[in-house]
């Protein structure tokens, strides 16, 4: 039996987040897009409302919501502003490795404080010459005595890196890639200025340099060499989240375009009555539903402890492509007004592009899907 409906709790959560997104996030979106200011105030409200740290276990003060509920939150907030959405969601990506590979002491030291006050954390894996190919990372963690590592290297495009209290850092040790939790106040950490990107301006993306940063062995996740596995496993959780955010953007695009087309007149007719416009809307709706269903399936598999690597990649690739495609078509429906910076449409197109790039490009997702197909008998 298949059930596509959300539970009562999930529906109530969706209603609460939608209200927050439309009353607080959406009206602030243009300002944060223009100034690039990190949305501290909004994050504080989101934290107070319990929309952050969704998957932190109850034992450590979190709501332990599960992936599907986290996807619902991500879609709602990103429909209002995906830049602010990703600024808030960066926590989830950083927390993922600790939840997957951390011990109770590490969870208590790093996850619990985030449920007690608004705090941020970042996932620091990408390097200037190692994005999709994580195995190419050149950051090193050298054991200087039995209890301490020294980390050296440069991490690049770190979402939330300028505001994080701690980082999940993937670095090479003698036994291969290893994950570490690094306190952001450690000596030797240099945070770069905010990068100026095409979209999602509210998200604080910086470079973070590690110069002989001393990290105690207690902050190592798992054993040496476990890092790659932990980092990749995190994506099974985080990719549906990113897919949900892309679904949110696609939903906003469809909503804006549909309502506009119903009102705007051209040659004495509403433009929605022209097939050239209405078919675009129909295609947007088809892709949006398909993207959401793929996303929910991936999240459901994860929540039920089933293998979801392929499904997460499928959801992420399809939702990201749908977000971009829908945004381009929605701008077309609004015509010149879609291109104007006074109308909240062009921002969606700028914001949508990054979904095809971060958390593994759309091409990498297809590589993962193919690799899984080849393994299937």
């Amino acid at each position: 039996m298949i059930d596509f409906s959300l539970t009562e709790d999930q529906l109530a959560l969706q209603k609460r987040v939608r209200e927050f997104a439309q009353d607080v996030v959406a009206p602030a979106a243009a300002e944060h897009d223009r100034t690039g200011k990190f949305p501290y105030e909004i994050a504080k409200i989101a934290w107070k409302e319990g929309f952050l740290n969704s998957h932190v276990e109850k034992e450590f003060g979190g709501p332990e919501r599960g992936s599907l509920s986290a996807c619902i939150i991500a879609e709602e907030i990103s429909a209002a502003c995906s830049g602010i959405g990703i600024a808030l969601d960066a926590n989830a990506l950083a927390q993922g490795p600790v939840i997957i590979g951390g011990n109770d002491d590490q969870k208590k030291r790093f996850l619990q404080p985030m449920t007690e006050k608004p705090m941020f954390a970042s996932y620091a894996v990408t390097e200037p010459d190692a994005g999709s190919d994580v195995s190419r990372i050149s950051t090193t963690a050298t054991k200087i005595d039995d209890n301490t590592y020294a980390i050296n290297g440069l991490k690049w495009w770190i979402t939330g890196g300028g505001v994080a209290s701690w980082y999940f850092v993937l670095a090479k040790t003698e036994n291969g890639a290893t994950g570490f939790i690094v306190d952001a106040d450690s000596a030797g950490i240099v945070r770069g200025p905010k990068e100026e990107n095409l979209g999602q301006h509210a998200s604080n993306t910086v470079r973070v340099e590690f110069q002989d940063v001393k990290v105690p062995v207690e902050n190592r996740l798992g054993e040496e060499g476990d890092g790659f596995k932990i980092a990749m496993k995190t994506f099974d959780y985080s990719r549906p989240l990113v897919a949900a955010a892309a679904v949110g953007v696609a939903r906003a695009c469809l909503s804006h375009a549909r309502l506009y087309a119903k009102k705007r007149t051209c040659f004495n007719k509403r433009i929605i009555s022209y097939q050239g416009v209405s078919f675009k809307l129909a295609d947007m709706a088809i892709n949006l539903d398909a993207a959401r269903l793929l996303t929910w399936r991936a999240a459901w598999l994860y929540d039920n402890g089933l293998p979801s690597t392929k499904e997460s990649a499928m959801a992420k690739a399809f939702a990201a492509d749908t977000g971009m495609k829908t945004a381009v078509e929605a701008v077309q429906v609004l015509g010149g007004y879609g291109y104007s910076m006074d109308v909240p449409m062009e921002k969606l197109m700028r914001d949508a592009k990054i979904f095809q790039i971060y958390e593994g490009t759309s091409e990498i997702q297809r590589t993962i899907i193919v690799a899984n197909l080849l393994r299937e008998r």
Binding site: D23, A26, P27, A28, L259, Y260, K263, Y337, S340, D342
Partner: protein
């Protein structure tokens, strides 16, 4: 969710895509339309995912212009005269303090009073002509900018009257302080008025 302060203010903002003036969603009439006071764009505001999307239906190009520009003249005359009156008071203060008579001070005092009175009369004229312009050019539509201008004008009227009263009973220091506040209010009203001329 109960919204406070700037969150509530932001929620009602929409930008005219023609002249870039920040309009308030509260300005919408019973037909769901708002006419931009600057460029005359007839805009329907649709709400989508918490965002305000303006749909331009028409542009009111032929709108009656203000008669004889009386509002502008009265406004700028008052704005110009208040600092003159204030500078004269400063001069008077220093002249008295130093004991040096740099002219006929007996004449300067009533002159300041006269200037302040003219500013008040000019302010009343500004208000009256502004009201006529609002009826003619803006067809008596409710605009948040104009409502805010009216509110600040009332504050200005009270401040100026009070300043003149204090001047009359020879509490010059307090009168001067009130004039400083009045000057600030004039700047605020002028700032709002600028939106209606140049957009934002």
């Amino acid at each position: 969710m109960k919204l406070k302060g700037k969150f509530r203010k932001r929620k009602n903002l929409v930008i005219c895509p023609i002249c870039h003036l920040e309009l308030s969603a509260n300005d919408v009439n019973i037909n769901g339309l708002v006419v931009c006071p600057v460029c005359g764009a007839v805009i329907e505001i649709i709400e989508s995912e918490g965002q305000k999307i303006p749909v331009v239906h028409n542009v009111e190009t032929k709108r009656p212009q203000p008669l004889f520009r009386l509002h502008t003249i009265a406004t700028h005359f008052s704005i110009g005269l208040l600092p003159v009156a204030m500078l004269a008071q400063i001069w008077l203060f220093f002249a008295r303090a130093s004991g040096e008579l740099l002219g006929n001070l007996d004449l300067l005092l009533p002159m300041c009073f006269l200037f302040l009175s003219i500013v008040l009369i000019g302010g009343i004229l500004t208000f009256a002509t502004g009201f006529v312009d609002w009826k003619r050019k803006y067809r008596g539509r409710n605009y948040e900018i104009i409502t805010r201008k009216i509110r600040w004008s009332i504050v200005l009227f009270i401040l100026l009257s009070f300043a003149i009263f204090l001047f009359w009973i020879e509490l010059f220091g307090w009168s001067f302080l009130t004039q400083i506040f009045a000057l600030g209010v004039i700047a605020k009203i002028g700032h709002l008025g600028g939106f209606l001329v140049f957009g934002k």
